[in-house]
Symmetry: C2
Subunit: 457 residues, 2 copies
């Protein structure tokens, strides 16, 4: 069998089976955008004739990480809304009000770079003006599952006193729904299928029930997911109770919106019963551990959700409130915050966190036939990680295997040396391959300063 | 005034005053091992004539970080004791039993490298055979406040059933106390005062009261600190209750051991009242946020301690249980875990975490006349951090200053480009200057594999 590249003599963590399947002296061969062989070096070398052979001794090969929920454009206001109450209304919205498309693009590009440098190969981005943001995803070369953020919220919503009902504007909603439909028509399946599209209602509180039902109908028509904030904060519950006399989960259930098409983001304020109900409905959950802890001081009920049989993934959410978009950060926070919540160090072991950033995240987004593990036939989205960095040293396989624990609890992201997406190097020896990083940072700083001028005024 | 080096055009975060004192267009000048000027670039350039001028545009200058509690040698068993109960007895001790001096040294060197790469310039190390470990500190060139770990515990203590009283051996205690005294005599003030020594009883449970009082007398005689685990886990409380019928804080208080000489590490199991009592006694506290969360699922009462007027610092503890020794990790975990504990995002703001890794940590260790802030007259322990990294971008000073929030909540450690200790480059452009990192990692891996063989057998 002909291969383009084969990496040999590496530790391989394919993220298959119950325990991740780690083995030493391994090899991975790719051809085009596909993995064609994974196994012991001598077995793979017997099977394939590769154009290029890379000796990966001391390296770990594993699937690319999946950031299951991110608002990439917000990165332009990284760090402006910290250590405060009413984060969204008082911290973020005053900046959003003045953000234009170029600000969004600059923020998004920085966030993609940050993610790739920490091993993220797939981004589930959920934002306004997504079609413009996808241009950067396409040129940088990563994988994205995108949604237009649909709401009926006027641009000056930040001026509304905290606690008052949002004044919904149906004309905004209609325009944003159309934008999501156009996004699907234009981009779904583009870039060799690296880009796929879902629908993105911003939350049950931020639009009318009519519009929400209309979005669901479109998601059914296109047979894709509904990616939506659910129980994302007390403000959402408050809006729903004022508007419908119901909390979010019962509201969705009654309107036939709680089902396997739904990717429910956060569930911060969901009760234990509501969480179980969501899990049993077949809806998926995304846990943004770092973001919700910093914004609300809360550990969402992901442990309850997964124990009830639900499929869940990790997401980094947005920069102003987290503030990094680094899946190593998310894995460690998800594990440790849940240990603290349960006051039990056995809860949420490292392997669980790693699965929720790889294979389980792929399932949540309906992409597990393509990504999430290193297996022959899947897309070649792979990380080459240096185990000789202090954080991953020593590597021990017996009597205790310490690699997964150190990936989750010690690694910082910089251990990732090469990032391969769809068979192509996106980062090589920590240098971004398809974007000028320094120039992107300079552009970001310039636009952020201009934006700050407007906010000040 | 003559200077050796002046850095100009930088953001300077001196960690002075209430708010850290951040300013733009700043300069820092050093001569020998001292800072001689900190201020606006034009003012400093008017004041000093420097041999070398470094244009630090886009860089941030700040004091080196202080890791107020670390067991560096344990890094050789990074990741072997995760997601488990009875972490110390069942996870770590089976390995410690077979660790020899060379294993310890290899682990310690790796931990120092890991710390420096994430901006740690001062390590408060607390370990057995400390005199040998100090040789690495001396050659790598960082600052250390060291203690010999004194206990009366036999080497095969890991075989003891969980919950049984430790069989204390006075001959071990006497030998370890002598080692701490010799450590002081040999090393205190060495390496241009980069090395200082304190006393290190391992915990009130791990030695007789007689020995503990004797250690205190030696600490008084040498006028130095007592660095001790206090209320470090339920196992300690259990041992004390069985032995003396008292919990740790009342036991120390009654024996005149709760005073300003004591640096109490962890206080994991201290009640609110005990915590306040410790704070009011003048004892200092060290909070190892990441370590205690992962080992016990607990957030120690550092918020109560500091609200009661106590001075506290952050420490990374040991690698098998944390698992990193990175103060950016500690700052973020300390802040976020305390927000979650209080269910309030306003609790433990970023600035508080940053102070506890710099100036407050210097106070805890009685070193604030020398380090902890960038001020003329202090030792030149300084970090040069690249703000053009995605995690620290953008830099905004108005209308919201986002630098401190991003240092604490977004930075990973790799943003630190240069590390200067005592006026000398220890790391330059991320290359360690006084140790061959690759060779150290190779040695560590070799020794860890040998150690694993012994544990397996």
């Amino acid at each position: 069998m002909k291969a383009d590249v084969v990496w040999t003599n590496a530790y391989v963590l394919p993220m298959t089976g119950d325990n991740g399947g780690l083995f030493a002296d391994g090899a991975v061969a790719i051809k085009g955008n596909k993995i064609i062989a994974v196994g012991k070096t001598q077995d793979v070398l017997r099977e394939v004739q590769a154009e290029e052979q890379i000796d990966a001794e001391g390296k770990l090969l594993m699937p690319g990480l999946i950031d299951a929920h991110i608002h990439s454009s917000y990165a332009i206001v990284r760090g402006v809304a910290q250590d405060m109450d009413n984060w969204m209304q008082k911290g973020v919205w005053p900046w959003m009000k003045y953000m234009d498309l170029k600000d969004q693009q600059a923020g998004s590009v920085m966030n993609i770079i940050e993610g790739v440098r920490a091993g993220t190969t797939t981004f589930a981005d959920y934002d306004a003006n997504m079609s413009s943001l996808l241009e950067s995803y396409a040129s940088i070369g990563v994988r994205v599952h995108a949604a237009e953020m649909i709401n009926e919220m006027p641009k000056d919503i930040g001026d509304l006193p905290v606690g008052e009902l949002y004044p919904l504007d149906p004309s905004i909603g209609e325009q944003k729904l159309q934008a999501n439909i156009q996004l699907y028509e234009k981009w779904h399946g583009a870039e060799n299928s690296r880009i796929s599209v879902m629908f993105g209602p911003q939350g049950p509180d931020m639009m009318s029930l009519d519009l929400l039902k209309q979005v669901e109908r479109e998601a059914v028509r296109y047979d894709t997911n509904l990616h939506m904030h659910v129980c994302q904060g007390d403000r959402e519950i408050l809006q729903l109770e004022k508007r419908y006399g119901k909390r979010s989960i019962p509201f969705l259930e009654e309107n036939n919106l709680l089902n396997s098409r739904l990717i429910a983001v956060h569930l911060t304020e969901a009760t234990e019963e509501e969480t179980k109900q969501a899990a049993k409905s077949g809806a998926k959950m995304i846990n943004c551990a770092g973001s919700i802890a910093i914004i609300d001081g809360i550990v969402p009920p992901v442990e309850v959700f997964t124990q009830a049989g639900g499929t869940a993934a990790l997401g980094s959410d947005q920069a102003p409130g987290n503030n990094g978009n680094n899946m190593f950060n998310e894995m460690k926070f998800a594990a440790i915050l849940n240990k603290v919540k349960a006051r039990d160090p056995k809860v949420f072991p490292a392997l669980k966190a790693l699965k929720m950033a790889t294979i389980e995240a792929a399932k949540v987004h309906g992409l597990d036939h393509h990504i999430g593990s290193l297996e022959a036939g899947k897309k070649a989205d792979m990380l080459v990680i240096d185990t000789r960095e202090p954080t991953l040293s020593p590597v021990l396989l017996y009597p205790v295997e310490n690699v997964i624990a150190n990936l989750v609890y010690a690694a910082r992201g910089e251990e990732v040396k090469d990032v391969i997406v769809d068979g192509r190097f996106i980062m090589k020896d920590r240098v971004m391959q398809h974007i000028d990083q320094a120039k992107a940072m300079q552009a970001l700083q310039y636009r952020a300063e201009k934006l700050a001028e407007k906010v000040k005024a």
